[in-house]
Symmetry: C2
Subunit: 429 residues, 2 copies
């Protein structure tokens, strides 16, 4: 059984030295270069089939794995290998009573199932973060990339074995039945990270007892405050909407304070129309500029397309309430020169990313300096926002004593000291 | 609707100053003292009904709320009020590009539903941690404590209002229907923490899409290594098993290395029998000392009683594999004088608490110095082990710019700096 052998592999990789895990990533980079013709051939076969099936051009582009992608992936592997070990970090140290030291120490999560979209380079990126952080991973990629994924996963397994780690720390799921079986293995699998459509993520959450991290929606807002710099506001709104319309951190709804609406909306609408954005506005917006009416449904719609809904609000409070009610808690921005307004917005908007005067398109693991991301989480537990290597770790409490008994604490023979210690956990692999 | 008004209350309490939240806790302490006769009367009514219904003595004891409990609860409130604010802490600061600063800042989770057992003092403890950390809480206590809980929750709400915070930041659920309704509110409630029996926690997990933190089991092990100090091993095993048999951090299975078994088992069994512990052993154990045979089922049983299953293992590896297979990932201890064995055990046992030479009974939020605990988590995500105030917080990313656009990053007009900053997030409420 895949999950069972992944569990065994987890116990081995979690106990391995950082240098062994880094060596795996470096030898994977070398193997990719060495075996690149095999990978390119597999990818060409995937692309030919996709063309026969008339896949849309953006999807074909995402599916392509050539020299350029190879270079990016190889560089990424070496960069992850060079990052500090995310494991065995002492997060907190406390003396509980004389001679008894408590250390909160970072450690891997366990077996992680990741379901990802059609980009084959994602397989290497995800596998590298899992290996670096001592986890075992079950990978399920898009059907249209299956030959590419098979070729790539075979090399990941070869690199693991070459460093003396179990190949089963990375396994490729091939069929829907594999996925259904995985979702039932709540005794063996610790976490599922689904990437993909909203409906797909909901399906996973509803069909598994395994904890799920991932984002179901990216309904991001820009709020142009009454004290915004109008020119900056227009630029940020245009970038947030049009820099890439098909991604989760693109703006879907724009909120404009009534006091600045007449100044900002005409030039903004002109700039957006230049970029072929279709505009929908509430009644107040349509008093200022022509556009289609926005309905209640628009406020909850993630277009992932060149469409924008626009609403005029009477106060910052109304903007915050609208975002908390209709948003997806992903990333929301206020454009303002007013510090007090910014503080209020950043504290009260209940989202993973709260921005002041910057495009929502910055919500990304690479941009945040996390090296790479396994996904963006819009839930609030464990990891929130772009999730890198650290999101793949948890912690355990190591308690080191010399025979301390609870009976002695209760009868007063010993007392609690609860002294914060400045030392790292001494017992490390 | 309770969940909806709790959500509104959350938005208000999350934006409140630390001093206001601390003031609420201090005024609650004063109110408890002032209104103690009302509370004691309610508690007496609960106790009388429980006696009529022939509740067991330990349950009656837990249900009792008198002067002593009042003093503990009041002291606890003042201690929590005096702790540093868990919110607005800058966990990480990075310059992304010139003039663009990213701050990872701690913030509350939102609306939390907590279902707890019959101790009315737990209501105050839980409510105080939630208020301190800026969350709203829906509280469901044991039916047998309902009058006490009503009296206590009324004072919590009074204290909230007295500080200008919304009373609905703490609401008491009274009926099973309230609980069923709560479990369906995944749009409004962020987290459920169930305390109680294994079956009950499983029921909650299976009947809600809201994330659940809590422990389903406490099947703790002590492993006596071949290099253990035999005298220490006996004391730790006795304390772990008998100091309190009815709690989740009591030992349920003892593993003994074959090389030390003949030395340790006879005195240990004598000591345990003195304390009326019923012993069950595998075949190898029964060659050394008389006891009932342990079956496969015993290894997975949390007795919560004066019963212990004992197994002889041939190696540390076998002990680790047994614990990872049959344990509940709560707390497990190795008794050894051998550093290499200790390192291996602490790194490879996949539990929230991994101990060396100390009783498993130390797994507790107060003991760990967390002030108090809302529960002990045996899952691996978000919080693990005893969960205090910090477990009731999450983080958000605050990104502060002056007009940065993604288009400029892509066209090379700007470059990423990814410089770690030593400053705290400047915009705080």
């Amino acid at each position: 059984m895949m999950a069972e052998s992944a569990r065994d592999a987890f116990y081995r990789i979690s106990a391995s030295d950082a240098e062994v895990r880094n060596e795996t990533l470096r030898s994977l980079a070398a193997l990719l270069e060495q075996e690149k013709e095999t990978i390119f051939a597999a990818n060409r076969a995937d692309l030919e089939e996709a063309e026969r099936e008339n896949l849309a051009a953006p999807l074909l582009h995402r599916l392509t794995f050539g020299e350029e992608k190879l270079r990016q992936v190889t560089e990424g592997l070496l960069a992850v290998a060079a990052m500090p070990d995310p494991l065995h970090r002492t997060l907190q140290a406390t003396e509980i009573t004389e001679g008894l030291k408590l250390f909160k120490v970072s450690c891997p999560i366990g077996v992680i199932g990741i379901i990802f979209e059609s980009r084959p380079d994602a397989l290497i990126q995800i596998a590298s973060l899992c290996i670096k952080s001592g986890n075992a991973v079950l990978l399920k990629g898009g059907r249209e990339a299956r030959r590419s994924n098979q070729a790539l996963c075979a090399l990941v397994r070869k690199a693991l074995e070459a460093s003396g780690l179990p190949a089963d720390a990375a396994q490729l799921l091939e069929t829907r039945e594999d996925v259904s079986r995985m979702l039932r293995e709540d005794g063996l699998i610790d976490l599922i990270i689904p990437r993909g459509s909203n409906a797909f993520v909901r399906y996973i959450i509803e069909n598994s007892r395994i904890p799920v991290l991932g984002h179901a929606d990216g309904l991001c807002h820009v709020y142009i405050d009454e004290d915004a710099d109008p020119e900056m506001a227009v630029k940020i709104a245009v970038d947030s909407k049009t820099q890439n319309v098909a991604v989760c951190n693109a703006m879907e709804t724009l909120l404009v304070h009534a006091a600045i609406a007449e100044k900002v909306i005409p030039p903004l609408f002109a700039a957006l129309r230049d970029r072929a954005v279709k505009l929908r506005g509430d009644e107040e917006v349509r008093k200022i500029a022509e556009c289609l009416p926005a309905t209640e449904e628009d406020w909850s719609t993630e277009y992932l397309d060149a469409v924008l809904s626009v609403k005029i609000v009477k106060s910052e409070e109304e903007a915050i309430a609208h975002i908390n009610r209709y948003g997806s808690h992903h990333t929301d921005c206020i454009v303002t020169e007013n510090d007090a307004h910014a503080v209020r917005f950043l504290n009260q908007v209940d989202s993973a990313g709260v921005y002041r005067n910057v495009s929502t398109r910055f919500a990304d693991g690479f941009v945040y300096g996390l090296g790479a991301e396994v996904g963006i989480a819009t839930g609030k537990l464990h990891a929130r926002g772009p999730m890198g290597m650290e999101g793949l770790t948890t912690y355990k409490y190591k308690l080191l004593g010399n025979g301390q008994l609870m009976a002695d604490m209760k009868n007063g023979a010993r007392r609690y000291t609860h002294r914060s210690l400045a030392e790292n956990c001494p017992v490390e692999g």
